[in-house]
């Protein structure tokens, strides 16, 4: 009874609390990282006043948003207006329940037996993440609609079209990985890469490209940041949101970036594995804990995200659809055929 209590209640709760805390902190600092990285690309310094070198800036931002006046437009659909930020934030956080960022560990011998640090490993984890992240789009649509603002409405509609059409090539790109890994479990995908002596980005370079482009579009980031295109739609779907509700939208965007980057790391770059995990003379790299390897790879993706934001103009709505349907879907299908044939050839 006692052991069961620990195993099923205490440990998961602790894990959830720790992961939730870490993810929220990381997300908060992602905003700081974005501002810094953009600033550095734009020959300026970025926030550097709050705390040493500006490191307390996210905290100050959070505090500001927390104490800010929380406006609800008079003609807004109140219930939906309140619900929308939650509807986008919760799915984004839920996705982290299945993301394995490190293998089972004894935590430097502190624990009697090795336990996996992630919340859970389910055998349909990928499907779960895809499904959960699709719910996020409702938050945007409902938020845009319930604000009773024309700009918000247009932002919401844009994002609906965008997210629906980019989920298709994303799914196809993921199927290419599934063919190679032969599992939907994220842990198994990482293990498959270890077993194959090869990270999947080598055979799946096209899939990686498609997946990442779709990921950028799914998270409404530049150059696909149409739903909140500030120069056209003021602020898109969250024009009318302020205070903590706005913060939810804002943080959800970064959380989704983190999810997409984590998935890309797991599916194409061997998750927590060190480079060349099976080459013996590189075993000194094993000194670095796996979670650090994972973080470094995710950080790389995040940097690319921000690099894109700092460089590219924005697509137009119809062009975005064209890129999705005319290029990415045929390409991802072609990729599926190629990878499938390859898998058949290699594995027989």
């Amino acid at each position: 009874m006692h052991a069961a209590l620990i195993q099923f209640i205490v440990i998961p709760v602790v894990k959830i609390a720790v992961i939730l805390g870490v993810v929220l902190l990381v997300v908060a600092y992602l905003t700081f990282a974005e501002r810094k990285i953009l600033a550095y690309m734009q020959v300026r310094l970025g926030p550097n006043r709050v705390g040493p070198k500006g490191w307390l800036q996210p905290i100050a931002d959070g505090l500001k948003l927390f104490v800010k006046e929380d406006l609800i437009p008079a003609k807004a659909e109140k219930a939906v207006f309140l619900l929308a930020p939650a509807m986008i934030m919760i799915p984004a956080l839920l996705a982290f329940s299945v993301i394995p960022f490190a293998p089972a560990t004894k935590l430097f011998g502190l624990l009697p037996k090795a336990i996996p640090p992630y919340v859970t490993d389910i055998n349909i984890a990928l499907l779960f993440v895809l499904g959960i992240s699709s719910i996020g789009v409702y938050g945007i649509i409902l938020g845009g609609w319930s604000s009773n603002n024309k700009f918000s409405l247009m932002g919401g509609l844009r994002s609906a079209a965008q997210m629906v059409s980019y989920e298709v090539p994303m799914g196809f790109a993921i199927i290419a990985v599934l063919l190679m890994a032969r599992s939907l479990s994220l842990v198994q995908i990482v293990k498959a890469q270890q077993a194959a002596h090869l990270w999947f980005f080598v055979p799946g370079i096209l899939a990686l490209g498609i997946y990442f482009i779709c990921g950028v579009a799914e998270t409404n980031r530049n150059p696909f940041d149409l739903p909140e295109a500030e120069s056209e739609l003021v602020a898109g779907f969250h024009t009318e949101y302020s205070g903590m509700k706005f913060a939810f939208f804002f943080l959800a965007e970064y959380t989704n970036m983190l999810v997409v980057s984590s998935l890309a790391t797991i599916m194409f770059f061997g998750g927590w594995l060190r480079p060349f995990p099976n080459v013996a003379w590189l075993s000194f790299l094993g000194v670095v804990p796996p979670v650090i390897w994972f973080a470094v790879k995710v950080a790389g993706f995040i940097f690319v995200y921000m690099w894109f934001r700092g460089t590219f103009p924005r697509y137009r709505f119809d062009q975005l659809m064209q890129v999705g349907w005319k290029w990415l879907i045929p390409l991802s299908l072609a990729n599926l055929v190629i990878v499938g044939a390859g898998v058949l050839l290699v594995k027989g």
Binding site: L38, Q42, K150, F151, M154, P223, L226, A229, P313, F317
Partner: protein, 373 residues
């Protein structure tokens, strides 16, 4: 299968008030849009939010004191505004200015043109979602403003030309500073081009957007880069050379398709040409006084006179009517290029998407201070 299908629901166009407080209306322009989805069925610009009655003010000021007010028309390129007014006044009074003054004026005006085009590129790019060129452009603009500050003491509203010449001699070391900047500048333009010119997203956003043919452009009275982008090789500096532009060798870049992309290319080329003009002016800079001998109190003959300069936005003209022995303009009308260019907006955005509207507003390069006066 006869006739169009009856819609199941009532269909109505969405009316969207775009501006005057909107990030990409470049000030306080307001456009009333009729939208079908995101498609623009009708656009109606509403202006006047920045109206200050400058033309009325001119009537109350003696001629030399009108010059600071011209700064505030097109406030991102105030040197050409000053130039337009003083050139008109010199035509009215029959003043010939010393060559050194003319060359200094040309240098200032071309630097102003570069800085105006830099602001245009910065805002145009940010309208289309590219945020980084903004900072690169403003970095170069800052150097130009520093040059202005070293010359006349002001950075934006320069008030740097006088009837009969320019008020100041160039300060020590200014020529070297300026030529150093001008030598470095084309490399910076290359950088902007690397970021945007071949970029497929940029091209898709601009090629074929806001097309206006040469005939239509003339009919609508467009001037400046919007007219040249449609392929009309027309530039006041060449057609009616004022100051000493006839002694300078430069080219008028023109586009072919009259779309947003061509206007973008035209303006980038104009920046390079302006740098070339400044380079030549600095090399040829003659010695001598910087201001002609003009009477302390200017008394104009009776008449009406119009003169124009090629402002960064197009033909900037001043129409001055005087009474006999008048010391003030009886009437001073400004022909603001932005005002007349903006008139073409509804035709250019017809049937495009909302996202294209910001591209077209950006490509017209309007300044509301000049439109509303």
């Amino acid at each position: 299968m006869g006739g169009p299908l009856e819609p199941l629901f009532d269909v109505e166009e969405m009316e969207l008030s775009f501006g005057p407080q909107h990030p990409s209306t470049h000030g306080v322009l307001r456009v009333m849009l009729k939208l079908d989805g995101e498609k623009i069925m009708d656009a109606k610009p509403i202006i006047g939010y920045l109206h200050r009655g400058t033309e009325k003010l001119f009537e109350t000021e003696p001629f030399p004191q009108c010059i600071p007010h011209t700064d505030r028309l097109d406030y991102v390129a105030s040197a050409t505004n000053n130039q337009g007014f003083v050139v008109t006044m010199e035509k009215l009074l029959g003043i010939t200015i010393p060559p050194r003054a003319a060359y200094i004026r040309m240098i200032l005006a071309e630097l102003g043109r570069i800085s105006s085009h830099l602001v245009w590129l910065a805002t145009h790019a940010i309208d289309l979602g590219a945020i980084t060129p903004f900072f690169y452009n403003f970095r170069e603009r800052e150097e130009i403003l520093d040059l202005f500050e070293a010359y006349c003491g002001a950075r934006l509203t320069l008030n740097t030309m006088r009837i009969g010449g320019v008020p100041f001699e160039l300060p020590d070391g200014w020529v070297d500073r300026c030529s150093d900047f001008i030598d470095r500048f084309p490399a910076h333009v290359d950088e902007y081009e690397q970021l945007l010119t071949e970029n497929r997203i940029w091209k898709r956003r601009t090629v074929g957007v806001g097309v206006i043919s040469a005939e239509e452009a003339i009919e609508m009275g467009l001037t400046g880069p919007p007219l040249r982008g449609s392929g009309v090789k027309w530039d006041i500096r060449k057609v009616f050379p004022y100051d000493h532009y006839d002694e300078i060798d430069f080219e008028i870049p023109v586009g072919t398709n009259g779309d947003t992309y061509d206007r973008y290319l035209v303006r980038l080329q104009e920046m390079r040409q302006s740098a070339r003009i400044v380079r030549q002016c600095l090399d040829k800079l003659p010695d001598g006084p910087v201001i002609a001998k003009v009477p302390k109190v200017l008394r104009a003959p009776e008449g009406m006179v119009y003169a124009s300069v090629e402002a960064p936005k197009g033909e900037l003209g001043y129409f001055i009517v005087t009474t006999p022995k008048g010391t003030k303009p009886y009437r001073c009308h400004v022909r603001p290029p932005s005002f007349i260019n903006l008139q073409a907006l509804p035709e250019m955005v017809q049937g495009l998407l909302v996202a294209d509207l910001v591209a077209v507003i950006g490509t017209l390069d309007i300044v509301l201070g000049e439109i509303d006066r």
